[in-house]
Subunit: 160 residues, 2 copies
Amino acid sequence: MTKTKRVLTLFLRFLAIGATLAAVIVMVTSHDSSQVLNLTFTAKYSNEQAFKFFVIAEAIACGYSLILLLTFSQTSLWRLVLILDVVIAMLLSSSVSAAVAIAHVGKKGNTHAGWLPICGQVPKFCNHVTGALVAGFSAAIIYFLLIFSSLYSVQNTLFL
Amino acid sequence: MTKTKRVLTLFLRFLAIGATLAAVIVMVTSHDSSQVLNLTFTAKYSNEQAFKFFVIAEAIACGYSLILLLTFSQTSLWRLVLILDVVIAMLLSSSVSAAVAIAHVGKKGNTHAGWLPICGQVPKFCNHVTGALVAGFSAAIIYFLLIFSSLYSVQNTLFL
């Protein structure tokens, strides 16, 4: 692996840690409540399984990249790292999609199923969730770039 | 690539085509209706964005593997195929997760958001969707095995 490649990989790993950490923090701190017909309606991420899955997946990805940075010198493990990168990329893309699907129902509702949108009542919560989803989506893209970069450097040849 | 490896890859590609095709067919044919307070309530996959995304993603994966089988002899393209396999695996895992998130709300509802479960009214629809999700999840696993197998055969060495 050349020095430029190594620096690029390090940079992408730091970006991945930043994005996943931001996603976790922004999602966990999402909280809003409103009064509906004398009842207090509280919205928080832990009320929905998909958002909990999102937080767990982002935290795993963040921890994985942190551990990898500490053991970065062992380039002989590239194949195992590549496999784990694929697993994490699939985990991140699935967690973001699940959270987006629920957030979409929260924003637009689903008239066919009788599910009403809730973002009108708790806009602060919805904005936080949107921010977390953007960070999570960025993390999935960064992991894909890491895989692309690793595969590209397996042999120093261009795509045939 | 040895002959055994080639046969295994071919077998996995056929399995992937079968699983994705099954997922598309079972999801598209999911349909049920019931009478609620003199109103006919019809449930079909096209009423929900996540289920439409699921069908499109599974169809893309199915078409991709079909095209690949026709151009299978060109093993020099392995790097491009591996990158595309990763893209398809991420696409499949995200589409399955989005559909699972919505199906979970359909089955259990979400009392915090006031979303009621609908599976009690349209059990046939829910069973079809569950079948499609199992097929879709299997397809994502098969793609992961394809990536694992490809990476394993990049060089004929074990994990270091």
